[in-house]
Every structure is written in C-alpha cells, then in structure tokens.
Symmetry: D5
Subunit: 147 residues, 10 copies
C-alpha cells in the first residue's frame, strides 16, 4: 500500500523538478501555503477535491489521491527540536507560554486557543533594519466546561 511518506517523497521530487515554490503549489490548489506544506508533509488531510487537485498539479499517480485524503497520525520525534529555526519557536513557547495563557484568560476567561480550529500564515515584512518574519496564528477560543 502507498503511504503518506511515499506521497510526500513524490511531491518533493515533483516540486524540485518543476521548480515550484510552496506558494505556487498553494495557489494552484487554492489553499494557503502554510496549510499546503503541512498537508503535503503528511501532517494534515486533504479534503477530497483538494486531493484531486494536488494529484493533477503535481502529476502524482491516481492512488495518491486517497492517500492524501486520509487522516494522518501526527508524530514528531524530538520532544525538544534541535533545528535552530524550529527551536526558536519552541523557545518562544517556553519563555512566553505563561504570558500567552495569562492574556488569553484576561481577554476571554478560563480557556485555551484551539490548535484544531486553527490557521496560520507566514509573511515577509520589509524593514530598513533588516526584514522581519511575521507569523500570525488564529484559533477559536474554547472555554472550559463546568458541569
């Protein structure tokens, strides 16, 4: 059986050959770049029509369509990531986690920001002192139930 790993490898290979960026691919299937990359890596499931579009866009074999639409099991192996680019985000959670919690409670009450009903974007912001990476996340507020 074809696995999500197999399809990810095919996508990466096709992307390199075609010289496309993730932004290009995202545009072709009408989704955002963050979500598109994540789903292509096997960390999100493609809705059926997007799976079909992905197969045509990247020239994948037909069997890949159902694989792209399967629910993934999200596994990461490093509890503390070592890659410096990813570690910096881990560090931000370590340093500012209690702050995010305190401000969410101040603005909403006792609850959390959903990581499921969630979206995110990455943009480049020009700046004379050096361009900046801007990351925007938005998740539904979920208040704790009392019963």
């Amino acid at each position: 059986m074809m696995t999500k790993e197999d399809v990810t490898a095919m996508i990466l290979s096709a992307k390199k050959q075609a010289g496309m960026t993730w932004e290009d691919i995202a545009d072709k299937i009408g989704m955002s770049p963050v979500w598109t990359h994540s789903a292509a890596m096997g960390m999100n499931a493609f809705p059926p029509e997007k799976a079909a579009l992905m197969v045509t866009t990247m020239g994948l074999p037909q069997e890949a369509e159902s694989v792209l639409a399967e629910s993934p099991t999200k596994i990461w192996e490093q509890a503390v990531p070592t890659d410096p680019c990813i570690y910096r985000f881990y560090e931000i959670v370590g340093v500012y986690g209690p702050t995010l919690k305190a401000l969410i409670q101040e603005k909403f009450g006792d609850g959390i920001m959903s990581a499921i009903d969630f979206d995110m974007s990455v943009t480049r912001v020009e700046n004379p002192k050096g361009d900046r990476v801007k990351v925007e996340m938005s998740g539904k507020y979920l208040g704790y139930n009392s019963w």
Copy 2:
C-alpha cells in the same frame, strides 16, 4: 537580597488588590501587555525608566527597581508543558515547525526568525462562530553566515 521571584509576588498581590488587568499596567508604563506580563514574571529585564515607572505604578519598595532591571535567567522546568493552554502552542510547534522552517527558507533563504529581536501580541477577534484568539509574532530574519 530581594529576588525577581519576590518582586513578581509583590506585583501579583498589588495587581489583585488594585483590580488592574495586565493591559492596564502595560498602559501605565507605556509598553505592550505581552512584554509587560513577561517582564513582570521575571522573564525579561525592564529598561531603567520602565523599572522606575513599574515601582510607582504598583507601589513597590524602592529596592525592587534595580531587581526589575536585572537580566533574568530564563528557566522553564517542563520540557513538554502540561497546562492545556500552553501545551496547544507546544503542539503547534510540533505539528507546524517544519512548515514554518520551509516557508521562512522559501521567503528569505537559509536562516531563522530571531526570538531575541522579537515582539508578540495577543488580540481577541470577534467571530459569529465563536471569538478567536489571534497571536502575532514578528522577529528579525537572521541568515546563516558562511565563512
């Protein structure tokens, strides 16, 4: 010697008595709520004039001023945070970390988003399906050196 933990306890107590929010305190000292909370928790150093303002705003003893201005040692004890509100951000780094890395490289080249020359905000976005938490981060892009 007075420690940062001592001063944090005094701030929390004064804040409760005064019925102030972090937003109120941040306004009073002319800084953002995220930074203000984080520095009050002892995770960032107050610039001298902000330390002085903090002392008057919260009615802290004079000795607190120099303590607020000291460089903190940033320690968190849970490599994987258990509080659900903080864990969701950890989970986002686990699931989307490779995506953030891929898009930063696509837009900037081989490098990272700084977690030092960095700022962040939390806002409440009204939404008929349930209000949303919006988190915006911005950090300077730092490209790897080759030498």
Copy 3:
C-alpha cells in the same frame, strides 16, 4: 497571598471533620462530583457563584472565594503516573489510543474529542461477578480546519 494549594488543604481538612463525601459536597454546590473534586484540587476554576457556595458549604475564610475562582495552571509531575489506580487509565490510553482515534475519524471525520468542552462521570455498576467502575466521558467533536 492565599494560594490554591492553601485552599485545597482547607477543603480536605473541613471535609474530613464534617465527614462529607465528594458526592455530598457536589450536591451542596449543585455540580457533579467529578468536576467538584477536580476544582477543589485546584485543577479547575469555580464560577463566581459556585466559589461563594463552596466557601459557605465548607466554612472557608472569605479570601478563599476569589482564589477558587482563579484560572489554575494545570501541572502534573509524573509523565507516566505511578499510582496503580491512575496508571490503569494511562495504560488504557496507551493500548486503546490509536483505536479511539480510528473510531472518532470513522464516525466524525478528521478531528479530535475536546478535552476542554468536556465532562465526565464515574458510577458504580452492580454486577454479580464483581461490581464495575463505569467512566463516561463526553467531549465536543472538533474537526481540523483547512485554510
């Protein structure tokens, strides 16, 4: 400042002296036993009117009221619990976790059961071969967003 730990200790002491069960306390404040115990342990926040009721029911000092209503930081120190009664639930998650995931996806699609918009009960079911513990959990289904 009075902490959640202080109030928990007061509740346990008052409960012992009064010879009350968690079920009794829950009845008095009009909440379920699971939620009541959890909130009394400092793992959930009492809504204001329940905090007030708790103070009268257990004869706590007035200051406890606001402490009971504060948002808790949920911390557990053993990633793998050692107490046999708690470990068995950990074991169930280890053995049946992938099964719970597969069936939720089969019945709902790609998503999770919320642990925030969530409730739970524990009941005793008589059985000639030995009475049984019945645990019922219910959480809102949250489908992953694609964007």
Copy 4:
C-alpha cells in the same frame, strides 16, 4: 513466520479495497468496533472462532488465523503521545487522574478499575451546539488485598 504486523497490514489493505468501516467488520465478526480495531491492530488476541471469522471476512491467508489468536505484546513507543487526538486522552488522565482515583475510592474502597477485565465504546451524540464524542469505559473494581 508471519507476524501480527504482517496481518495488520493485510487487514488494512483488504479493508480499504472493500470499502468497509471498522463498524462493518465488527458486525461481521460479532464483536464491538473498539475491540475489533484494537485486535486488528495487534493489541488484543482473537478468540479462535473470531480469528477464523476474521480470516473469511477479510479474505486473509489461512496462516493468519493462528497469528490473530496469539497473545500480543503491547508496546507503545511514545510515553507522551504526540497525535492531538490521542494526546487529549493523555491530558484527561493527567488532569482528572487524581479525581478518578478519589471517586473510585469513595464509591468502592481502596482499589482500582481493572484495565484487563475491561470494555469500552465510542459513540456519536448529536448536539445542536456541535455533536459530541461519548466514550464509555467499564472495568471490574479490584480491591487491594491485605494479608
């Protein structure tokens, strides 16, 4: 020798080709969906007659029958699961573990809920505010021996 992993792969492949759900398979062999999935994943042993039924239902090779009936060694590799759907159950054990223990003791005495003489179901409960996942577990109460 054919292993449980081999048979699991065959079942998943046959299930996909046949377009069956776990509920369909469970019905065919007269067992519950939770148990059927778990046993098919190699986490439980099929009683001989169920192993035989499974072989016919899924069109497996004859050798699979004895493999399905073997006692499994239950191994999970992530002490803290990363998949969000499974993590939420881990989180429930972390947050409510002491509560489950306290209420079991209140209702039964000093003991545990068995995870061996145990059953579980997952159902979808319709709800105007969003359908809910209902998980019901039942395990025999086992009281500690004193001797």
Copy 5:
C-alpha cells in the same frame, strides 16, 4: 492535618525505641511482615481494626488511626531504582519479564497476574553454600476481556 509521612516517622521512631522487628509488629497486629511494612511506609491502607491495633501496638496518637486507614497515593520517584537491593528486582523484571509473560500465557491464556489481588512473602532459606532469600508472590490471574 497529620499526614501518612508523619505517621511513618512516628512508627519508625517507636519501632527503634522498642527494639521491635517488622516481624514482631506484624505478629502483634496479625498480618504478614511484607504487608505490615508496606502499609507502615504508607503504601497500603490499614483496615480499620488493624489501624486501631497499630495505634495501640506502637503507642501512636489517636489521630493516627484514621490516617493509617486512608487510601494512599503510591508514588515512587526513581523510574529505575538506584539502591542495589531494589535494583536487582528491577533487573529481574527486565531480564525475565518476557519469560514471566510467556509462561503465564502458556498456563492460563492471554492475561496477567494481578498486582492488586496480590500477596508476597520473604523468607530465609538455609543453604550450606550460603543462605538464600526466597520471595514468593501470588496474584490472581486476570484474563483479558473480549467484547
């Protein structure tokens, strides 16, 4: 409130002063030495009448009686014990664990030996080549449920 730790300290002190062995204490309360030590350490709950006997035998304050009867939370802090005497038992589980499992399955079917409905003894066996420690455990066989 008096805790189990407090009572354990009182028992150890009284035992030393009285020059009693665990065997002596066990005899006095009519229980086995293994169970008596374990319960005195706060790892098992005394049935009410044994708690009363323990209080008289060791000359404990009256309040200790209800503390001895409370259900303990069983916590050990070293996942791998360092004390050589305890480590050897850990090593036996590491080396012979799969063997114990295989033989239990051969003799009983798919299931486990209960660690709850369980008893254990330690005896000294004379031997010309050096006396031997004999440990006998017995636990109820619990077969896995299929449902």
Copy 6:
C-alpha cells in the same frame, strides 16, 4: 554469522510447528521452563550439553549449538515496560521494593538478594475465587563487604 536473534526465531518457528509448550521443551532438555524460555530468548547462555540437546530437540542447524552457548548481552529497551503483564511486575518492584529491602536486612543484615545466583518458577494454583499465578524466586544472599 548466525546470531542469537536468528536462533530465537528458529526455535519459535520449530516450537509452533511441533505444537510444543515451553514446559515440553524444558522437560526434553532437563531444565526448568523459566530458564529454558529465557535462554531460548537469548537472555541466558546454554551450558554446552544443553545447547547440544536443544539443537536435537528443536531440529536446529549445527551452527546454532555454539551460538546457544555464547554469553548474551542482556538488553531491554523500555526502562518502564508497557506490556500490562510485564508492567505489573515493574509496579510490584516500585510499590514493594523498599519493603523487600527492609525485610532482607532484618533477616540477613546489610546486603542483597543475588540476581545472578538466582532461580525462579511460575506455577498455577487452583483457587475457587479464581486461579492464582504463583511466582517463586530464590537468590543467594550477598552481604556488603567492609574493608
């Protein structure tokens, strides 16, 4: 070179085909079932004449004889075992480890039970309330040296 893993696989396959139990094999080579299983799993070395008997009993290739007689390196990968049948023994060490130590010291002095000069058996004990697993271990007492 043939490894212990290779020989273990051959033994398991031959055992299945011959429909033998571990007890049968142990009888054939004149050793106990616990030791026989453990050595067959590669966790103990066969004395030369037992290795020869094992080769004839199970119909193994000649090369296996010297492999069975080699000293094994005893490795287990899970510091805390997840299989419920093995975990229960780990739990017993966690709960009763300090008790075993205290009673060994009471009966023998400051020392340990050897896990090297050691033997163990597993038997089924009939019991109207449910049959019981009986595990007996015996190891030489080793007293600490002072020098």
Copy 7:
C-alpha cells in the same frame, strides 16, 4: 532523489581516495575549514558558487550541486554527546555557561551571542608543556527587544 547523506558519503569517500585534508578542501573552495567540514556533513548550506566548486573539487555527480545548496535540517540525536572529544565542549557549556552569560551581559547588556551570524576557527598553538587546541568563536551580539 539524492539526499544530503548521500552527498556526504561521496565527499568522505573522495576525500579519502584523494588523500586530502579538510584544510585542503577548504582552500580549494575558498572557505574556512570549520565551515567547509560542517557544510560537507550536511549541517550548513553551500552558497551556489561554492556548491559548484565543491562538485568540481571532489568530482561529485552534477545532481549533488543542488543538494549541497539546499537548506539543511540540523538534527543531533544525543542530547548529551558521548564521544569524549565532543563531550568536553558540552561540559564547558555546563560549567561555564552561566559565566559566559554574565560576562556578555556585563559587556553588552541583556542579550545573547548569535549562533547564526557566527563563525569559528580551530588552530594548533605550540606550547612546550604540550600543544594546545585554540577555538575561537565570534557571533553578533543581539540585544533583547522590549516593546
């Protein structure tokens, strides 16, 4: 697709056959030995013209050029390195980490030395009591932002 691991293996093989040192290779491509080794190991990305030079210098297949220029994911598997030569550097960070932090703050203010805008060299310093290894690191100072 050719991976960074593949290219690293080719470089090591070509280096051995040609009898070159890392210093020789670094000279040929006009970079420092530290950076050259690190990039050849797949821990840094070659700028395009250096990738081209590397391909000619080491006689690599053409496809290697684009692989050398890709952004690496920096992964190390041992949180605490075991090799004695690498461990000593880990030990230096453990022993002198707080000192490095204190002196950077004394000389610059609250901030860090960048590990991204960074360079390093290793030299041999002759010394009658035994030659010494000299390691020089230089990284841009980055001051914490307050906002």
Copy 8:
C-alpha cells in the same frame, strides 16, 4: 558550616552594593574575569592566596576563605539549558561538535581538547554591522593512550 552557596550569595550582594563589575573584581585579585566569575559561582576552587584576596576585596567573613578554597562539585541541573544565552552555546556544540572533533583529529591525531587544563576569555569586538561577542578557548591537546 558555611557552604559555597552561602559565599556566592555574599559575593553577589557585596558586588551589587559596591557597584563593581566582574572585570573590576578580577583585576583586584589578579585573575581573568571568566575564571573569577566561575570560581565566585562555586564552579572552581580559589588558590589559597586568591581566596584571601577575595575575602579582603569583597569584605567577606574570615570563614569564607577556606570555603572559597574547597574543591567544588560541579553540578548543572538542565541537561539541555533553557536560557537563550546559554542555549546558543549548547546549540553550537550540537551543530559543530563533529566538526570540532574532525579538525582536532586532523591537526593533532586521535585525542581531545582538555576541559581541565583549559582557559577562556570573552571580549567585545566593535563592528559597524553590530558589535560581536568573541569567545576564545584554549585547552591542552590530550592524545589517546594505546597500551
């Protein structure tokens, strides 16, 4: 007995009151700032005459002299440091550890850089693009023995 922790606290307090930098203190006792800070933190032992100088310079009680001269036990509690300033050095060891090893072997043979016969300095290097932190380490080369 006065401990190294006690003396460190006295030094920090005296340093703050006197408004001295580590460089000032180092000058006064004729040692380098890196070594002085490290020894003051209790991570190195003061030679007797330096201990005496330290007592006079910082106005410490006489008993501190012998404490400063004691051999320390070097303990750090975070295997992976969380403070960003210290983490960056850990990251450098993770990324460049194998490179340091390869170049030391190329220049010296099979061996290591000593972390005991070792010295280090931190300097500020002016730079129009942003000043840089320069860290220089030097340790004696130690070649592996063969015997």
Copy 9:
C-alpha cells in the same frame, strides 16, 4: 530522629575542625580510606564496633552510633553525573563496559564481577610525565545459575 545526613554533616564539620584527612580517619578506625569515606557519606553501614570507634574518633553524640550502623538506601540523583571528576569514570564504563564484560567472560565464563562482595583503593603513583591516579577494584566473580 537523627538521620544519616545529619551524621554526615557532623563528621564533615569535625573533620574540618580537626584538620584530618580521610586517610587519618581511616587509620584511626582501622578501615580503608575508600570504605571509610563512603560509609561516612552514608553509602555504607558501619559494623557496630567501627560505628563506636567513629563516634569517639570524631567526637559525635552517642545517638550517632546506631545511625552509622543502619543499612543505607543508596540513591544518586544524576543518571549521568556532571562533575568532571566523576563523569570520567562514567565515561570509562561507557567506552570500556563491553570490553570488561568480554574479558570477564573469557577468563571466568558467563557471569559478573560482584559490586557487593567488593573492595577498592585509590593510590598516587609517581611518574616523571605527571603522577597518575591508580584505582584498583576487586569483586568476587559470580557465575550465572542455570536451573
């Protein structure tokens, strides 16, 4: 009750005041320095007559005598020690552990060196290239039982 930690602190204090070395103390009680230090640290039990000698030698209170004679629980908190002097021994076990095992098996058969019936010494060996630390360990060979 006086604990082993209390007595260790008294010994260290008395030793400092008296200006004695471990060798001096060992001589006074007629034991080796390694054993004496270890027992004084609470890692070994003093035989009764040695406990009495220790009390007179160091001028300890009478109650210390029985405490010194108690069986210790041997606990170390760092699975991997950080102090460089202790780490080097850990490193030797990591690098040469399989070698020690292979040679013990070659010389004795399948078994181990006892760490219980064990003794050790540390001596200084003069050497023109730098004096050397000599550590000698001797433990009884224990052969694995087969049964």
Copy 10:
C-alpha cells in the same frame, strides 16, 4: 566504503573460526587485551603498525587496515546500561563516585583522573572463597587550571 562496524564483524568471525581468545590476539599484536578488544570493537584507533599486524593476524582484507587506524566516534546508546555485567560498574560509579573524587582531591588537589591518558587491565585472582575479578585503572592526574 568499509566501516568500523564491518571490520568488527570480520574480526569476530575470524576469531571464532580460529578459536582465538582476546588474550591470544593481544599477544600477537603486542598490545594489552583490554586495549585490543576495545580497538577491535571500534572504540579506539589502531596505530598504523598495529593496524597492519591486526590485518595479518586475523586475515582481514587490505582495505581494513586504514579503517582500523581511523579515529572512532565513541557512542553508547544506553545512558544506564542494562547488561548486569556492565551495570555493576555503572553502580560502582554511582555509589563510589563521590568517594573517588574526595580521595583524588585529598591526594592530588583539585583535579581529575584522565580517561584519555589512561590504561586498564582485568585479571583473575584465585581465592579459596571464590575467585575474584581484579580491575586496575590508571590515568594521569590533571589539575584544574586557574587563569
């Protein structure tokens, strides 16, 4: 390319076929058994002439000569070894580590025993109460630098 693992496998196979002991091999190449085994396992580098001797002695292919002479990367995967024979040495470091440190400091000053300029032997010592394993280690004393 041939790796150290490949050569180790060839040596083990040749050793078995030739019926040689490590002592025999060590004699043939004029080195000690401890060092010879360790280097054959790939944990030490053969000096060129010893590598040549090893190739002739064991009948290895010519390419093995340069592989034996390469600097190894010393990796062990179990922070706490499970094999009982190796674990006992780990236990000795845990129990006696602080003692080794204290006596080295008493005899030499503040420093360590080198694990690099180091040698070790294993011998069998006859003893009527059971033969003993004698392990002798010697490493150069290295005193901490102050600067």
